[in-house]
């Protein structure tokens, strides 16, 4: 590969591309973590040909409640911070 530099517009384009790919990778990494965590919480039976009753909805609920938890924690910390500040 020859090593002449990319021109400015190409560099900008590549930067945008990398930013987008990085965001996508971060998203994927959260999904991996959530799957791992929710699998441990929800899948209690020996894996069969299908999910057992309730396991599927447990997985979806697990994701939603985890995100609720994270929003809730921010709120609590914010409240505590305010009460200390007074």
């Amino acid at each position: 590969m020859d090593n002449t530099k990319f021109d400015e517009s190409t560099q900008k384009e590549l930067q945008t591309f990398l930013d987008r790919e990085q965001a996508q990778a971060r998203l994927h990494s959260s999904i991996h973590n959530l799957t791992s965590m929710c699998w441990d919480k929800c899948i209690t039976s020996t894996p069969g040909n299908y999910f057992a009753r309730g396991e599927e909805s447990c997985l979806a609920n697990c994701v939603e409640r985890f995100l609720d938890t994270s929003l809730f924690m921010v709120k609590v910390i914010e409240q505590q911070r305010q009460s200390i500040g007074q």
């Binding site: 998203l27 991996h32 799957t35 894996p47």
Partner: protein, 97 residues
């Protein structure tokens, strides 16, 4: 004026440059795809070993192998459910904020 056109139309760069740009993008894409596949492999290995091989003996039994096969399928399914729920929630939060 000609300079203006050069910067505003990226596809007008030389074909060699465009090919190199494409090559960089493709190698980034395939590296990320590889990392994703590896992560999924590691996770399924870990989770399914924990679930299916409860008491390791001198070789994998056919029951264990059946369990591992199903476990792998369920884990992929779980990944898809989590992915769908997560992205749906993210776009919902983005709409309301």
């Amino acid at each position: 004026m000609s300079d203006f056109f050069k910067t505003s139309v990226p596809s007008s760069t030389s074909p060699d440059l465009a090919a190199r740009k494409e090559a960089v993008m493709n190698s980034v894409r395939s590296e990320i795809a590889l990392a994703n596949a590896q992560e999924l492999m590691n996770k399924t290995n870990e989770k399914c070993f924990a679930k299916c091989v409860t008491k390791p003996s001198s070789s994998l039994s056919s029951t264990e192998e059946t369990c591992l096969t199903r476990c792998l399928q369920r884990y992929m399914e779980a990944f898809n459910i989590v992915s769908k729920t997560y992205t749906a929630r993210i776009s919902k939060e983005r709409e309301t904020s």
